[in-house]
Subunit: 256 residues, 2 copies
C-alpha cells in the first residue's frame, strides 16, 4: 500500500543515547515515518570527517524498539551515507540532525558533527536541518527546542526547499513562551580563542586538552549570535560551496 507520509531520517552527533536525539524524534514523529541512524558514541567536534581507512558497523538499536533504529560506529557523516546506501536504499524526504547539546552558531558550524550531517544531506539534495540548543547539559530541557523543531518542520514540508543548502537552527535555552520568535540570519564572524590545558600524566609526560573561549564579537543585528542573545531562534541557510568568489579577481591580479 502506498504511503504518502514523508520519510524522515534522524541523526545526531551526541550519540544514540542522547536526550537531544530522543527530543528530536518526539518532535518530528507526527510529521512522517522516522528512521534513526545515529553514532554509537559521542562524536562531537567531528566536523565533516568520514571513515575511509577503517570499516564501519551498523547495529540495530534496542533504545527505540518502535522504530527502524540503528547505531553506526562512525561519524555523523558516515551515518548519513550508510543510512541512504544500506538502511533506506533511497534518499529520505527530510533529514534532521540533533538536537545538539550545545551551540552551533557562527564558526561552530565548521566543527559541528550535527551540522556536517545536515550539510552531507544537502550535498545529496535532501532538505536537511541541523538543530542545536544553547545548553551543553546532558539532561537539558528541550521543551522550547521541540516547539522550534515543529515550527521549522511545518514550514520545510509546506515550502519548496532551496537547492544546495541546509538550515542551521540554533535555539536559546528558554521556555516556549519566552522565545521571541525565529530569525533568518547570517553566520556571525565569531571564533574560538583557543588555549590548552597542559598537564602531566602519572608518568611525568605532558599532555594537552583543548579549551578556549568563544569570542561573541560580531553582534550585528543580522547575525545568529545577535538573534540568540536576544531570545530568538536563529536559522542560517548554510551552503557547501566554499569558493570565495569576491577574491577571485583580486588573486587573478597576482598574475600567477
Amino acid at each position: 500500500m502506498a504511503n504518502d507520509r514523508p520519510l524522515i531520517l534522524v541523526t545526531n552527533d551526541d550519540g544514540i543515547q542522547a536526550k537531544g536525539l530522543r527530543s528530536l524524534i518526539e518532535a518530528v514523529e507526527t510529521f512522517g515515518d522516522v528512521v534513526i541512524v545515529a553514532p554509537d558514541k559521542p562524536q562531537s567536534g567531528m566536523g565533516h570527517a568520514i571513515t575511509v581507512n577503517n570499516i564501519l558497523r551498523l547495529n540495530k538499536s534496542t533504545l527505540y524498539p518502535n522504530y527502524d533504529a540503528f547505531t553506526c560506529t562512525g561519524t555523523p557523516v558516515d551515518c548519513v551515507k550508510l543510512a541512504i546506501s544500506q538502511v533506506l536504499h533511497r534518499k529520505p524526504d527530510v533529514l534532521v540532525s540533533g538536537i545538539n547539546h550545545g551551540e552551533n552558531s557562527a564558526s561552530n558550524v565548521l566543527y559541528s558533527g550535527t551540522m556536517s550531517a545536515a550539510v552531507e544531506g544537502a550535498m545529496e539534495d535532501i532538505p536537511s536541518i541541523g538543530f542545536s540548543l544553547l545548553d551543553f547539559d546532558a539532561d537539558a530541557d528541550f521543551s522550547g527546542s521541540q516547539w522550534a523543531v515543529r515550527k521549522v518542520m511545518d514550514k520545510v514540508l509546506k515550502n519548496q526547499f532551496p537547492k544546495g543548502m541546509c538550515l542551521n537552527v540554533n535555539i536559546p535555552q528558554l521556555p516556549e513562551g519566552e522565545i521571541q520568535g525565529i530569525k533568518i540570519c547570517r553566520q556571525a564572524k565569531a571564533y574560538w580563542e583557543d588555549s590548552f590545558d597542559k598537564r602531566q600524566d602519572q608518568f611525568g609526560k605532558p599532555y594537552y586538552w583543548l579549551k578556549g573561549e568563544f569570542n561573541r564579537s560580531d553582534r550585528s543585528e543580522d547575525t545568529d549570535i545577535w538573534a540568540l542573545d536576544h531570545g530568538y531562534v536563529s536559522i542560517v541557510p548554510t551552503q557547501f560551496d566554499m569558493t570565495a568568489y569576491h577574491a577571485v579577481s583580486e588573486i587573478n591580479q597576482w598574475d600567477i
Copy 2:
C-alpha cells in the same frame, strides 16, 4: 637578533612520514623558517574534526632533525591549534598544508583534513594554503608539485593576502614542463556517488567499507575540475562563511 625571514608552519593530513610532507618542506624551506607539526598517523578524510573529548600529545619528531618538528596525536586542525598555542606561541606568517596524496578539488574540500588545516589557519587570519596532488600513490612523483608550490609561495609572500579565506591548490600529475599554467577557479559542483562494500567478518558479522565514484559532472571552464582535466594547476580561494546569502530572502518568505 632580529630575523626577517617569514615563519612558515607546515602540516598535512597524511601524517609525518608522508612523502608529500617532505616534498612540501623541500619546496618552502628557502622562503623562510620552517616549523613542522603534523599528525603522527594518517588522518585523511578527517575534515574539520577537532579532539574535544580526549587528550592530545605532542612529540618531537626524529624524522626532521634539522627542524623544529613535532608529531601530534590528533587531527590536522588539532595540529594547527597546538602549533600556534604550544609550539610557536604566536601565529606563523604563512601556513602550508600538504602536499596531499590525492585530489581535493570540488566538494572534496569538505572532507579534506589537508584543506581543513588551511581553513583553520584562515580563521586565525594566517595566510594559508593547502596543496594536493592528483595521485594517491604513497611514492608519487612530487616534482611538478614542488614547482607549483614555489610559484604560489612566491606570489603569496609578495602580495597582500585577502582576509577571511585560504587557497585550495590542486596539482595535476604532470612533469613541470607539461603543466599548462595556473588558473584561479571556483569549486566545481561535483560530488561522490557513495557506495559501500558489505562483507562478512570471520565471525559471520557484516561490516561496511566506504567506496564510491567521484562524479566529475560540473566541467564548466571556470571550475577546478576543468583546470585539472586540462593540465592546469587549480587555485580556489576558499572561505569559511557558509551562509547561503542568496537564500535568505527566499526563506524569509516562508513567514516562519
